[in-house]
């Protein structure tokens, strides 16, 4: 896919490579790089996924990184069915119907 100048895109960049990371963090975290994601309007005339590009962020900063997505969108949702939760309301309503008891 090719993005044109002015397209809204998402970029990715390595901030700290393995070896540059803080020594005071767990080993599993030290063994992976510190990565960054940001979004902006493409400054380059055209670019393909994987290219190093410049973007102008929504507030107007210039940021460089690898083009990873064109017209990025959010796809988080309400999850899948969680049947484990279904007893809660029915049980509570039953308990409330029984009324208050101090015994």
């Amino acid at each position: 896919m090719v993005a044109k100048k002015g397209d809204w895109v998402r970029i990715h960049k390595i901030i700290l490579n393995v070896g540059e990371r803080s020594p005071n963090i767990p080993e599993d975290t030290q063994s992976v790089p510190l990565e960054m994601w940001d979004k902006g309007f493409l400054i380059n005339e055209t670019a393909s996924i994987g290219d190093q590009v410049d973007v102008e962020t929504y507030i107007g900063r210039k940021v460089t990184g690898e083009l990873i997505e064109i017209n990025p969108f959010w796809d988080h949702d309400y999850g899948k069915a969680v049947p484990e939760l279904l007893y809660i309301g029915r049980q509570a309503r039953e308990l409330l119907e029984e009324g208050e008891k101090h015994d």
Partner: protein, 476 residues
């Protein structure tokens, strides 16, 4: 000349960057030892309660409704001894612009930034504070950058954090998302340096003063409704600002007999800076992974001296498991008709248990709720937990192992809390104070400061110091 952008070089410029980005010279409050003049800092760099009320009114922050949770109270009484079961109330902070109490903190920080002539604001937060700052910045016409710790090294992110990124963008902010690690602070410093924007830290005096109106309002609302102050206020505790600000507001209202109780989700055993464990937790805030480190060393924050000092105000600190908070979130929707986000219900789960040990004519207040939406809701959060190998079980919540399972209480009577040994927490704080200030002896001023900062007394602090082998300088 271009400045050195290496991790060590940027970290060594930390104080200089902080000073120009918050506009506070913290040095003037320092004694050069353990003690610093907290109240002077709050007074000289903060705002009076009346001024804050005015500032918050400009953007319609605060004056949130108070609900009595009659059905949840009834359920608590079913499991309480005769005569027990305090009335449970809820302060619906979700009705603030941006959907959480964080609007109070952001309102003052963004107002202050505008007053000082900053063109934009930056905040490092994966929580509701990001949306709050972005929303306030939109109202005041300032630019906004939110820096989030969002994804693990596989690019997987907590649905709750992703939703907050979306909300920030909705308010016109730039969202810089990072993978796991405390070096977020490094990126944050670089952004402050590059943009010259205001550091809308959660821990400045104006941020904390912004929460004082919450405590004050609680007292005023109860005096009007019930003719008296509540007996206990339960506060979800992470960085300590919510608790500090609320408690200070209660004190300013004269509600001196109201007990202030901290509540956190227990995530014991999970390391907060671990890439592998990042997505094993099902709460991204209000948990012990922030609550305990920030209580025992508040000055670990992104400003030299934190205005959030929870041990100064906390009477008790109770923890609850993840399953109980999800349970209460479902219960709140099902029997009270209020659908709210899970993280805000940590204090509610604690209040439900606490109510059962209090008298039935007493009042316990849960002082916040947060908005709910895609990602930030029990269904996606539990779906995400399952996808990360966490088992969702029904049973005794006391048996939950964070990172392995989430145990929903089998019935309301199974909800339980764990009381943290607050004296031990206070002693850890004293130990950290000695360690970080690198003093060998403690003087009168330090001693008084430690007493105030731990809400204790002189003999408690003297005993703690003796255990550490630290001498108190004899007075002339």
């Amino acid at each position: 000349m271009t400045k050195d952008r290496s991790l060590s070089a940027v970290m060594s410029r930390k104080l200089e960057i902080m000073k120009s980005s918050v506009g506070i010279d913290y040095d003037i409050f320092e004694s050069g030892r353990i003690a610093f003049d907290y109240e002077r800092m709050m007074k000289e760099t903060g705002y009076s309660l009346q001024e804050i009320e005015e500032i918050q009114k400009e953007t319609t922050v605060g004056n949130t409704p108070l609900y009595e949770l009659r059905n949840i109270t009834k359920l608590a009484r079913k499991y309480a001894k005769p005569g027990k079961g305090a009335r449970i109330f809820l302060k619906d902070e979700a009705s603030n612009p941006s959907g959480s109490f964080k609007a109070r903190r952001a309102a003052t920080a963004v107002y202050h930034a505008q007053k000082l002539g900053y063109k934009g604001v930056i905040a490092a937060t994966s929580g509701n504070y990001g949306a709050a700052v972005a929303s306030q910045a939109a109202m005041r016409g300032l630019k906004c950058i939110i820096v989030q710790e969002c994804y693990d090294s596989k690019g997987k992110g907590q649905p709750e954090i992703i939703e907050k990124a979306r909300a920030c963008e909705a308010y016109g902010a730039e969202v810089v998302q990072l993978s796991v690690g405390p070096e977020l602070f490094y990126s944050f410093l670089l952004l402050l340096e590059e943009t010259g924007f205001f550091n809308a830290s959660l821990y400045t005096p104006f941020g904390i003063a912004g929460v004082e109106t919450l405590g004050y309002e609680i007292s005023m609302q109860f005096r009007e409704k019930e003719g008296r102050d509540p007996d206990a206020v339960v506060v979800t505790n992470a960085g300590g600002g919510n608790l500090t600000g609320t408690a200070r507001g209660l004190i300013k209202a004269g509600a001196l007999d109201t007990t202030v109780i901290g509540a956190s989700v227990s995530l014991s055993g999970l390391h907060m800076a671990s890439d592998e464990q990042f997505n094993k937790k099902s709460f991204t805030t209000g948990h012990t992974g922030f609550g305990i480190p920030f209580a025992t060393w508040p000055d670990r924050s992104d400003v030299p001296r934190s205005a959030a000092r929870p041990l100064r105000y906390m009477d008790r600190y109770l923890t609850v498991n993840q399953g109980s908070v999800f349970y209460m979130t479902e219960l709140l929707a099902q029997v009270e008709g209020l659908e709210r986000g899970p993280a805000g219900n940590t204090a509610l789960a604690v209040a439900f248990v606490l109510s059962q040990e209090m008298d039935e004519d007493q009042i316990v207040v849960v002082q916040e709720t947060e908005y709910t939406g895609a990602g930030k809701h029990i269904n996606p959060q539990l779906t995400f937990a399952k996808e990360n190998g966490i088992k969702i079980l029904k049973g005794n919540p006391a048996n939950e192992v964070p990172g392995e399972n989430i145990i929903l209480p089998e019935d309301p009577g199974m909800l339980c809390v764990e009381e943290l040994d607050i004296e031990k927490t206070k002693k850890s704080y004293i130990r950290n104070s000695i360690k970080n200030s690198e003093v060998e002896t403690v003087n009168r001023e330090d001693l008084d400061f430690l007493v105030a900062d731990t809400k204790s007394n002189e003999s408690f602090v003297r005993d703690a110091l003796e255990e550490l082998g630290v001498k108190v300088e004899t007075e002339e």
